[in-house]
Symmetry: C2
Subunit: 257 residues, 2 copies
């Protein structure tokens, strides 16, 4: 029987340790194609390249058996180029993105380039998962992730993912205690509160660095922040229909337009 | 009684005709502050600037009475800088973004810089609306929008917008027939199917232009694409909790993790 085709992308760039790990895991269960940004794209959200050109260059970063391409664009561009230029005849059975170096829980999903690659694939009906490790160290220990990522990817390949959904999987940083399991969660009600560090450049002009402080307002135990804090892997089904259906009635009732 | 404070941003850049129109309308009902990108940011999705510095420069583009700043970052950056640097003491009563030169109906909401400014504000609890004109001509006629934008902004100021929601408002291009009204809608089930136009640069190397073809699969009459096609203004309540709550149970039932 032929192996499934798995497309791997990320947002930290094709040379990061996270994608190297993810490619090595996916190669155990499928034929792998890698298309990933040629430079870090963190915080790019669901950006696409509309007013500029794109480059795509083949490389041997993952050995002779695994075709790999670096792309000048965003994670969403990578998925589009893979599906509509490189893979015209054979469609991927699964798209995975990551492993991101840093958490994409809660509201961070909106800013996440990792998840934009997964959501882009889901829009076109391909099962897709973004994996993030809650450790910002680019050399973080990540061998504790293997069994869980393989389990989730195998379930996606055999049972599929509900239509209109991409999975946002976050994994606790390595610690002495073993991970307690995988929790299907909702997105926590938390957000970033920004401060701006104002500085003066050598030419006497002001500039800013954005500093984000993550603030969790959520008291529930069914959300991704709780899961990570309690040493569970969080798995949030994310939809790309942003309609707040409950609000349609509210607006029709209360507004006079 | 003091006037409400209205923050205006966009994604086409601070010199576009769309933001000029939106500022002139908002100045009729509130005190206006403009913070908008110094260059076009179309397709930027919910990108933020995390690995680079930001610039913010005051200008007089909208006259002496309306403070205005151009920002080197994305639409989401503009809202963050406005709220957490420029406006530390007084919070805006309303954030509006646009008027975008081009449609942001259906799945385009995900790629939309216009809507990312509105959603960024909504995350922090401020009523927020993105306005888009379904006409890509940067010199498009837009006097037909005035009464509707004013009506929607006034309703938002007096009645508020449901918590967790930003409004995505799309307005049909100018035509001979008068607009039939405003419809509260859901996001249409449509998507972009991409093609890549491959070319060779003067140095003999390949590059690509992305070409998007919009394909509407939605047969309903309660969605934004239907509204625009039938000369209504569409108003979609968009949420930033991406959790597909229905899928939590499906995954818990069907998956073995």
């Amino acid at each position: 029987m032929s192996k499934p085709l798995i497309l791997v992308s990320n947002d930290d760039g094709i040379t990061s340790n996270g994608i190297k790990k993810l490619v090595s895991l996916m190669a155990q269960i499928g034929d792998v194609l890698v298309v990933a940004p040629d430079s870090p794209q963190s915080g790019m959200g669901h950006a696409i390249t509309v007013g500029d050109t794109l480059r795509l260059t083949e490389n041997r970063l993952f050995g002779d058996q695994i075709p790999a391409y670096e792309c000048s664009g965003t994670p969403a561009d990578c998925v589009k180029l893979a599906k509509h230029h490189l893979l015209k005849d054979r469609k991927p059975d699964l798209v995975v993105s990551g492993i991101n170096h840093g958490s994409n829980t809660s509201i961070s999903v909106l800013y996440s380039g990792t998840m934009s690659a997964a959501i882009e694939a889901a829009i076109e009906g391909t099962p897709a998962i973004g994996f993030s490790l809650c450790d910002y160290d680019t050399d973080a220990e990540m061998d504790h992730v293997d069994e869980f990522i393989l389990k989730i990817a195998r379930e996606a390949l055999t049972k599929g993912i509900p239509k209109g959904i991409a999975l946002n999987v976050n994994i606790p940083a390595h610690q002495n205690q073993k991970i307690r399991g995988i929790k299907v969660c909702r997105q926590a009600n938390a957000r970033w509160e920004e401060e701006f560090d104002q500085r003066i450049d050598p030419h006497g002009r002001k500039y800013f660095w954005m500093i984000g402080n993550f603030v969790n307002h959520d008291k529930g135990e069914d959300n991704d922040e709780w899961a990570i804090a309690n040493n569970y892997i969080s798995l949030v089904p994310c939809q790309f229909d942003l309609t707040g259906h409950h609000a349609i009635r509210l607006l029709n009732d209360e507004w006079d337009i």
